[in-house]
Amino acid sequence: MEDVILEYIRSEYFDEDDDEDVELDANTPLISSGIVDSFSMVSLKRFLEKKYDISVPDAEASAEAFDTVASIVQLVQRHQGGA
C-alpha cells in the first residue's frame, strides 16, 4: 500500500523537470513541505476511497492526517478495519 500511495504522490505532484531531485519516502512531510497543496486533498482522498474501497469522513481528511505517506497508510488501514 505504501508503494502505491508513494507512486500516486509522485505522479500527481512531481514535475519531471523540476522535481527529479526531490526525495520522497513514507516519512517525508507532504503538506507542510509544500509537496502536496492542501487544496488538492479532495483528489487524494477520492483516490484513496476508490482504490481501497473505504469512506473517509471530511473531518478526518485533515492536513495532519495526510502529511506523510505513513500517516495516510494508518488512516486507510483504520478505515479498512471497519472503523
Binding site: 500527481e12 505532484y13 514535475d15 523540476d18 531531485d21 526531490v22 513541505s33 509544500g34 497543496d37 487544496f39 488538492s40 479532495v42 483528489s43 477520492r46
Partner: protein
C-alpha cells in the same frame, strides 16, 4: 495593558526563528521616485547608493510619468484627497465609474469593479459567486492572494500541475458532478515569468463546461500586441469570464485593483465581495492617474514595444553569458540558482555592483528552486542593460556558475 513579558518574549522568539531560518524580510529605503535608476539607503544609515532597479513591477515606466503625476495633481485639486467612505455609502465619484468603464474597454470585458488592491479583488471575488456545490480548479503556482481568496470561499477546491493541460483535463473530468467548474490561473506567473496557455485552457473550458478566471496583474498593459494582456497574446479576448488585475504594477504602480468580466459576476462582487464592501474607496488622485495611464496606453504601443525589445536583449544576454534562465517571453526573467544561500550572496554582490535585485527562495518559491528574479521596464534602455549584464557576468564568474547547468550548480552548491 495586556502584553505581559511572557507574550513579548514569545513574539521575540518567533522573530528570532524567522531570522534564524534566513527568512527575515528587510526593507531598503529608497530616496527617489520609482525609476530605472534609484537612490537607495541600505543598510539603514548607509550613504545613498545609486543603483539600477531590476526588481520593480514598473514594467511600462509609468510610475513617475509626468502626465500621470499631473493628472493626479489635478484630481487632488478638483476632487480632493480622500472620500472617507466605502464605495456604496458616499465613496463613488464620477471618475470611479469612468475608470471602471475605461478598464472594461481596455480589457474587452462586459463590466469592471474597482478594489483597493488586486489582493483585495482576489480575496473577495470567489466567495461572491461560488458556493458549496461548485469547484475551483487552480494552477498550483497561482499567486498567494488567489490562494487566500479560495480559502475564504466555500467551493470545493482542487489543483492541477503547473500549466499542465493533460492534468487539468483529468481534473475537469473528475468534477463533472459540480454545478460550476472554475479554472483559475495567473496570466503571467510572477515568480517564473511564464504564461498560462489560455488558448488551450479556453478550449478545455468549452469542452468541459467550465468558467475561466485569470489574474493578469503581471501582464495588463504590456503583454499582447496592444498590451491588453495574456488574453490578447493567446487570441482569446472576450472568452475569459473573470479577469483580476492591478493598477499597482504597469498601470502607474500606485494602488488599486479590479475584477473585470461577466456583468453578473461583477454585480455579485458589488453586492457581496467583502473587501469591496468594507474597505475605503480608491483616492481620487489614484483614480485620475490610472485613467491617464489607460489614455496613454490606448494612444500608443511604444512603451510595451520598448519593453519587449529590452526583454529580448536581456533574456538573450543572460543566456549567452551562461546563466540558467527560465524560458519565456515576459519581462520577468528569473536567473536560476537553486541554492538559497547562493541567491542571497549573489544579490548582495550585485547590489555592491550597483544592481538592485532580490534573491527568492523557499517558501516564496518551491524548495530547491532559489533564484534571482529580474524584471525589465520600458524605463531601461539598452546601454543601461549592457552595463547591468557586465555586472551579472562579473558576479556570476566570481561564484563560478557561468556555463553550469542546473545539475552543475546543484553539484557545486547543493539545493
Amino acid at each position: 495593558m495586556a502584553y505581559p513579558s511572557s507574550i513579548r518574549e514569545a513574539h521575540s522568539s518567533q522573530l528570532a526563528d524567522i531570522r534564524g531560518q534566513g527568512l527575515y524580510k528587510e526593507e531598503r529605503y529608497i530616496h527617489s521616485p520609482q525609476s530605472a535608476n534609484i537612490q537607495v539607503e541600505y543598510p539603514p544609515g548607509a550613504a545613498l547608493k545609486s543603483v539600477v532597479n531590476l526588481c520593480a513591477n514598473n514594467y511600462l515606466g509609468l510610475s513617475s510619468h509626468p502626465d500621470v503625476i499631473q493628472a493626479a495633481h489635478a484630481a487632488l485639486d478638483e476632487r480632493g484627497y480622500g472620500l472617507s467612505s466605502v464605495r456604496f455609502i458616499c465613496g463613488t465619484q464620477d471618475i470611479h465609474r469612468e475608470l471602471e468603464a475605461a478598464l472594461s474597454t481596455f480589457l474587452g470585458t462586459e463590466d469592471t469593479i474597482l478594489f483597493p488592491s488586486c489582493m483585495d479583488a482576489n480575496a473577495g471575488v470567489f466567495e461572491a459567486f461560488l458556493g458549496v456545490e461548485d469547484v475551483i480548479i487552480s494552477d498550483r503556482l497561482v499567486h498567494a492572494s488567489i490562494v487566500d481568496g479560495i480559502r475564504l470561499c466555500k467551493a470545493v477546491t482542487d489543483t492541477y500541475k503547473h500549466a499542465n493541460m493533460k492534468h487539468l483535463k483529468q481534473k475537469l473530468e473528475e468534477h463533472q458532478d459540480k454545478q460550476v467548474r472554475l479554472i483559475v490561473t495567473d496570466g503571467v506567473f510572477s515568480m517564473d515569468g511564464d504564461m498560462a496557455p489560455l488558448d488551450e485552457i479556453c478550449s478545455l473550458a468549452d469542452d468541459y463546461d467550465a468558467m475561466v478566471f485569470v489574474d493578469d496583474s503581471h501582464a495588463t498593459g504590456f503583454i499582447g500586441k496592444t498590451g491588453r494582456g495574456t488574453p490578447e497574446h493567446f487570441g482569446v479576448l472576450g472568452r475569459i469570464d473573470v479577469i483580476t488585475t492591478t493598477l499597482g504594477k504597469a498601470l502607474g504602480g500606485a494602488a488599486g485593483g479590479c475584477v473585470s468580466g461577466r456583468n453578473e459576476v461583477v454585480e455579485l462582487c458589488r453586492q457581496r465581495a467583502r473587501p469591496y464592501l468594507f474597505s475605503n474607496t480608491m483616492a481620487p488622485p489614484l483614480v485620475a492617474g490610472a485613467l491617464k495611464v489607460l489614455e496613454i496606453l490606448s494612444g500608443s504601443t511604444a512603451r510595451r514595444d520598448k519593453l519587449e525589445e529590452n526583454t529580448r536583449f536581456w533574456r538573450r544576454g543572460l543566456t549567452d553569458a551562461g546563466f540558467v534562465v527560465k524560458q519565456g517571453e515576459s519581462p520577468i526573467v528569473p536567473v536560476m540558482l537553486y541554492n538559497a544561500k547562493l541567491s542571497q550572496d549573489m544579490a548582495r554582490d550585485l547590489f555592491a555592483e550597483g544592481i538592485y535585485v532580490i534573491g527568492f527562495f523557499f517558501p516564496v518559491v518551491p524548495q530547491g528552486q532559489a533564484r534571482i528574479r529580474t524584471q525589465l521596464s520600458a524605463d531601461h534602455d539598452i546601454p543601461l542593460l549592457e552595463k547591468a549584464l557586465e555586472s551579472f557576468k562579473r558576479v556570476g564568474e566570481k561564484h563560478g556558475i557561468l556555463g553550469l547547468d542546473k545539475k552543475g550548480i546543484i553539484e557545486k552548491f547543493g539545493m
